[in-house]
Assembly symmetry: C2
Homo-oligomer: 433 residues x 2
């Protein structure tokens, strides 16, 4: 056996405690797998005395995690503090500057400072490993960076936020409203007191930016992700979606086209028979399409102490076994500039829900507007009057450029019969029948 690999952990919340638990419970198996023991030597957290279900006294204690990153007797620093700036960034840079590897679960850090950190890691022959940052229960970083390394990835997409997926799944199965389900999710601990990071799509966008960089060999471009959250999805949309053979999911989608890379997060309608349609609750799923491998699908828990700690430990084992890699699969100097394509260039189908006054000729007028903008309709539904005497009209378009649809919607919005702003959800073909 080689010398033990020494690990210092910054942040002892549920994931930090879970990491200690995995390394302790499976110490023998892990040592066999990597040819050396992995031992925790130091820890840092806000309070030393908090009950975490294990005894911290065997480990050197640091009040300051940035100090720990350079002073601890450790080969690997595990960063579980969070945030893209401040302590997490400082300790990661400090660790690299003293030649130590960093394992992190911090998607914001990798998405917002990843390119810079990749350069810093390489300059010190250190590794930045972050399997836990995207869908802890799915080894998707490894799959993209190594398993599909022979492919040119054409697109990568998925359900990347468990909170949104839980809320949308629950709205669909119960027929309840967004606010009501969000409140319940908060009470159950599935959503934060300030839920905006999740439900406005920022968390999914962090993960998508990381996946896109790995897939396409580009600098991480979180700032270029087009982001829409799920606040606008109404209970009634699930009813219409079901009637039309769709489900509603928040997806992150990144693709490579002649015009550049698209990176988008928004709620969308997907075929009820496709591989993502059955992914419910707190599960995440990712689809990667490569030129040789074709479509590959990955599903697992997106968060939680166990899955995230499992990913952290997998990274530590790889380091112990000497299985290293470039941060984004190629040397930082080889990462291409990300040329982004704007959302207005998207060509795809749309679901459009209109609330109109029930008067003669409205239907014909709607049809004319779509025709005038060369938008062809695949189907159109009209439902019963609501209590105000208005009617819902739901249109599914064929593929059309987003800018053309926007122009049509602007015309429609000016129509006197329109009771409220048109409500639009994109339709994505992500496999299915």
């Amino acid at each position: 056996m080689s010398d033990p690999l020494k690990v210092a952990i910054a942040g002892l919340g549920t994931v930090g405690a879970g990491t200690v638990q995995v390394l302790t419970n499976h110490a023998d198996q892990i040592a066999a797998r990597c040819g050396s023991q992995i031992i925790v030597t130091a820890v840092s957290a806000r309070s030393r005395d908090k009950d975490r279900g294990f005894d911290v006294s065997p480990y050197a204690w640091f009040d300051d995690p940035v100090d720990m990153a350079t002073e601890a007797d450790a080969d690997v620093i595990v960063e579980l503090i969070g945030g893209s700036t401040g302590t997490a960034l400082d300790l990661t840079k400090a660790a690299f500057s003293s030649g130590r590897h960093v394992v992190t679960a911090n998607k914001a850090l990798v998405a917002e400072a990843g390119t810079e950190l990749a350069e810093a890691a390489e300059a010190s022959s250190a590794t930045l490993a972050y399997e836990a940052a995207v869908a802890g229960g799915i080894p998707i970083i490894k799959a993209l960076r190594e398993g599909l390394a022979g492919n040119q990835v054409i697109r990568v997409l998925g359900i990347l936020n468990g909170t949104c997926n839980y809320i949308l799944s629950t709205m669909e199965s119960t027929g309840r409203d967004f606010d009501d389900v969000l409140k319940e999710a908060q009470d159950l601990g599935y959503a934060e007191a300030d839920p905006s990071f999740d439900i406005d799509g920022v968390d999914a966008a962090h993960k998508l930016a990381i996946l896109a960089s790995l897939a396409f060999g580009t600098k991480v471009g979180f700032q270029d992700v087009h982001i829409e959250g799920i606040r606008g999805v109404a209970a009634i949309d699930f009813e219409y979606a079901r009637d039309l053979g769709f489900r509603i999911k928040l997806l992150g989608l990144a693709g490579q086209t002649d015009q550049g890379i698209s990176q988008r997060v928004y709620p969308c309608l997907i075929d009820e028979h496709g591989p993502l349609a059955i992914v419910d609750g707190s599960f995440n799923a990712v689809i990667a399409e490569g030129d040789f491998v074709g479509r590959s699908v990955y599903e697992g828990r997106g968060a939680g102490a166990g899955p995230t700690a499992s990913a952290v430990v997998a990274d530590i084992i790889d380091i112990a076994a000497g299985r290293l890699n470039y941060t984004f699969g190629v040397p930082a100097a080889d990462l291409k500039e990300l040329v982004s394509t704007p959302i207005e260039n998207r060509v795809g189908a749309f679901y459009v829900r209109l609330k109109v006054v029930d008067q003669t000729g409205v239907f014909a007028d709607i049809g004319s507007v779509f025709r005038d903008h060369s938008i062809s309709m695949e189907s159109i539904l009209q439902r019963d009057h609501d209590s105000d005497g208005n009617v819902h009209v739901v249109i599914v378009t064929h593929d059309v450029k987003e800018s053309a649809l926007n122009a049509a919607l602007t015309s429609l919005a000016a129509h006197e019969a329109m009771v409220e702003k048109p409500h639009v959800i994109r339709i994505e073909d992500v496999g299915g029948e």
Copy 2:
């Protein structure tokens, strides 16, 4: 950049040609990913002159692939010949004896000689890499060996044979008989002229034995796999399965219990809402359940030149980048003896279809037999008379030990009203609602 990694390829069928194509088309990207160029230096196949869509003249030609394994100017030998004995085995051993790594797509070889080859590889500090041997379009070897390395795997199971999955999917969607669909699959090239290796479950069993060894750290035990193929699944079973909320798939299932390791391949009924139910046609899928990660699901193409070549190249890239591993995740000397649990110990639910003469009291007699063997029934269906005036009775049991069910079926078979032997399909809970 480091020195180029030199590769010699034995076997130039579609996968061999695909491997050359991936390495050629994506040479620059691959070089960036692994820090060195990967170049093909030598090839061997039956006929030098066959048109393969690329020119073999730049490569050293060997008539004998075993000679190539020791004499070629190569660091890695890619074995794409097939078979668990003979040339494939000889060249693999020869390659190790001269300190070369071996990348193979040969499931029979790894399943039947894996333990011995793991020892031979380690003795020469060489690597046996075989991502392409199990579900080429799914990086499942890497997921089990590295991605989930911090977990104790509880069970691993999946749809492991695309030919069977195509036949069962087609039988279900068309209502046609097995023989008819098999014939079509053969005409389309989805099934071999001699299809027994696929449809009798041997191919799936090879893959399952490999996954079980990786999951549980045991010596590969192909000879201990309980194998049943799909010849006995009738068109009528799909109708009843649908009525009961199930689909029918050939699964390989390996689990760890107090009594040892179970390794089984058989057709079974699975929940129509579960993650494997929508995996149709030539796709494969694997579920791995770990103690920390929970359930993770992987889906992709099981075979074909592109997906298999993608997996072969991923292994070559890992070797070029110095990311090596033990054959089954731990040193060969640490692999545990496989203690196998017999199929009679299985506890689970069953689907039982009986064809009986429509006479007074038969229903009561069937009920009595099940009651006398302490088997409780979850549901019972009776269908219209067939053209002979007989009736089908379909029973779904609650969980029961297989040996108890067998005893009940023996009693039933002796009943005078029984027109044919009871027809049994196991029901497996592999996730779902």
